[in-house]
């Protein structure tokens, strides 16, 4: 089942001589449960694409369809609610709220939506992420790897359709990075989610079901490496 599709997705910055085509006519389709790695040199348009897929930016032309809905046909406010309920983000620099505990950071998207918290699910998630003994800790009392695990929890709290991760291991050493990747894989497998990861780490990309390679804003390769 297809969860995400793009149609001629294009993003350009500037005009005239300063015009830069960050992404040109990208057409991709991602199936439910897939783990897709997006690779390419820096400045190739990976992050632009991820931001467009997740509704964080606005394309110059083309559309992004998530669960049958063209997300850029929505108003700004509707899109922000859509993001809160449908997609999870994991960033390189965690972006946790420093005055909230690990557990509060994880449940934040639910609190924002005044949604009743599925306690069993959150407990399960915290257990899977190895944060049982760290629930009450503030972000600055946690290591980098633990902080990133909290942000994975936050991304999964609303049981989103898709989790987008932008260089999730970019700020971690290789041991912690591998752990974070494996946890992301485990959790998306466990909760039937779809994972799109931007990385320039080929070791991480090799774990994916599918690798999309971008160069100069164009998709130059899109192949399944695993079933």
């Amino acid at each position: 089942m297809e969860v995400l599709k793009t149609i001629n997705l294009t993003k350009t910055y500037g005009t005239g001589n300063a015009r830069v085509e960050a992404l040109k006519d990208a057409n991709i389709s991602i199936k439910q449960g897939e783990f897709v790695a997006v690779v390419g040199p820096s400045g190739s348009g990976k992050s632009t694409m991820l931001h467009l897929l997740g509704g964080l930016d606005r394309p110059t032309s083309g559309s992004v369809i998530i669960d049958g809905k063209d997300i850029y046909s929505l108003s700004e406010k509707e899109r922000s609610i859509f993001r809160r309920r449908k997609v999870g983000f994991v960033f390189q620099f965690y972006n946790l709220i420093p005055v909230l505990s690990a557990e509060e950071n994880i449940t934040l998207p639910l609190l924002l939506d005044n949604k009743e918290i599925d306690k069993a699910y959150i407990e399960d998630l915290i257990g899977l992420l190895g944060l049982k003994g760290r629930k009450e800790h503030l972000p600055n009392e946690l290591s980098g790897g633990q902080q990133q695990r909290v942000s994975i929890g936050r991304a999964l709290a609303y049981k989103p359709s898709i989790v987008f991760a932008d260089e999730p291991t970019g700020n971690l050493d290789s041991k912690n990075g591998r752990e974070v990747m494996e946890l992301m894989r485990l959790s998306v497998q466990k909760y039937h989610q779809t994972l799109v990861v931007i990385t320039h780490d080929l070791d991480i990309a090799s774990q994916a079901d599918r690798i999309i390679r971008i160069e100069d804003g164009m998709i130059v390769r899109d192949e399944a490496v695993r079933a």
Binding site: M1, Q32, D67, G68, K69, L74, E78, R79, I81, F82, R85, L110, L111, D113, N114, K115, E116, I117, D124, I126, G127, L128, L129, G130, K132, R149, K159, S161, K175, E179, E182, L183, R185, L186, Q189, K190, H192, S206, Q207, D209, A224, V225, R226, A227
Partner: protein
């Protein structure tokens, strides 16, 4: 975290409409009251003026007394006199409203406007309540017809969900439910196809050894006079085929049990290293035959909650695969490591490797890659290993370089098992 219904846009809109209506109605009410009193005031002055005119006409000499009588307040004594004088003409404070022309006129006016105002209020409230109920029930009907379409198998009906409030949340959960249904349905469909293929594969797998056994038996029966050596050879060959069938059936049953979820794992916190060591020992004959070295690398004894028999079965299948595909005199390593959140097992061989195009499929049942030279594989072992590991909440993946070897990486999360 429970909250009131005030964050719902429908509630907010209704409250806003009601408040606006109240503001407008109050303004109308105030204006009406103002004009009513202005008009009454005017009528009273005009009546007084007529009386003054009437009196002056008859008694022009009283001009100095009449006018002050209207503008100044009289004494208590004068008041009494007035009452007595007027009573003779039937005019006192018990006079009914309808006999007092001015009061009669204005009371009618005020009854009319109060009635009109009440009707206006009623109409406004009725209209607003009707409109908001209409909106609410429209959404309920939308949900009902979307549910109906889903029952009919059309999963493209999506409810609006990008908004605050309970209806949007209902829409969101409804869409999620529809999605899960669609996914399950698709899974059932592909399961059906898979089952068909599996039955075909199994019968195929069983047919070959069965045919061999049949031939050997026929030969034995025909060539009854042959020497004992030939007979023994046939019997041994038959036994090998029977063993192959037995293995296949046993493992198929294991997979079936696992996937049906009828297996009750005997979970216990115990040494994973010991489990691995037992497997290595049980396969000693196989790897010694090929003069392989099997090494267990571990920093410390790793304790993990698992079912020893089943995990042993999984490791055994992977190890058998490695032994089969690794050349004489080479080495197989099993590495155990743990972090605070997960336990990892890495099984590394120096075998022929797996072709890039086969790698995505090696854990599928009955998958046989381009390496068909080795007739022993049934394509069951790795599929079984994967099922067992996943039912322990773990994941398995393989990496391989042709000619250099294959690495199986198994990860178990600590928090959930």
């Amino acid at each position: 975290m429970k909250e009131g219904i005030s964050s719902n846009p429908e509630v907010r809109r209704t409250v806003l409409k009601l408040s606006l209506a109240m503001v407008v109605l109050t303004a109308i009410m105030l204006l009406c009251t103002y004009f009513f009193w202005a008009s009454l005031n005017k009528s009273m002055i005009e009546r007084d003026l007529s009386i003054i005119g009437n009196l002056l006409d008859k008694h022009p000499e009283l001009q100095g007394d009449i006018l002050p009588a209207f503008t100044q307040e009289g004494s208590l004594n004068q008041h009494k006199k007035g009452i007595e004088a007027a009573r003779k003409f039937g005019y006192d404070d018990r006079l009914p409203v309808n006999l007092n022309p001015l009061a009669d006129q204005y009371s009618r006016k005020s009854y009319r406007s109060v009635l009109f105002f009440c009707l206006l209020c009623f109409g406004c409230i009725l209209g607003i309540v009707y409109l908001s109920f209409k909106g609410l029930f429209h959404r309920v009907r939308e949900t009902a017809s979307a549910a109906e379409r889903i029952v009919e198998g059309d999963f493209n009906s999506i409810l609006k969900q990008e908004n605050e409030g309970d209806f949007a949340k209902l829409g969101h959960q409804f869409n999620e439910m529809a999605k899960r249904l669609q996914l399950t349905l698709e899974e059932v469909q592909s399961e059906k196809v898979f089952l068909k293929n599996t039955i075909f594969d199994i019968s195929h797998q069983l047919k070959t050894p069965l045919a061999s056994i049949k031939i050997f038996n026929e030969l034995l029966a025909e060539e009854i006079s042959e020497g004992i050596e030939v007979k023994r050879e046939f019997v041994e060959k038959t036994a090998a085929q029977v063993e192959r069938m037995e293995w296949l059936i046993k493992h198929l049953l294991l997979i079936a049990k696992l996937e049906a979820g009828t297996v009750e794992f005997q979970m216990a916190r115990q040494s994973l290293s010991l489990t691995v060591k037992e497997v290595i020992e049980s396969l000693r004959l196989r790897w010694e035959q090929k003069t392989l070295e099997v090494a267990l690398i571990e920093n410390s004894d790793i304790i993990m909650s698992h079912d020893r028999e089943w995990i042993g079965e999984a490791i055994s299948n992977i190890l058998k695969n490695c032994i089969e595909h690794t050349g004489m005199g080479r080495k197989i390593e099993i590495e155990l490591a743990e972090t605070s959140v997960m336990t990892r097992m890495i099984i590394r061989d120096q075998g022929e490797g797996i072709h890039k195009e086969d790698l995505p499929h090696i854990f599928k049942r009955f998958y046989k890659g381009r390496n068909k030279l080795h007739g022993n594989g049934t394509g069951i072992g790795l599929a079984l290993a994967k099922s067992i590991i996943e039912s322990h909440a773990g994941i398995i993946r393989a990496e391989s370089v042709l000619g250099e070897g294959t690495t199986f990486i198994i990860t178990f999360p600590k928090g959930v098992i």
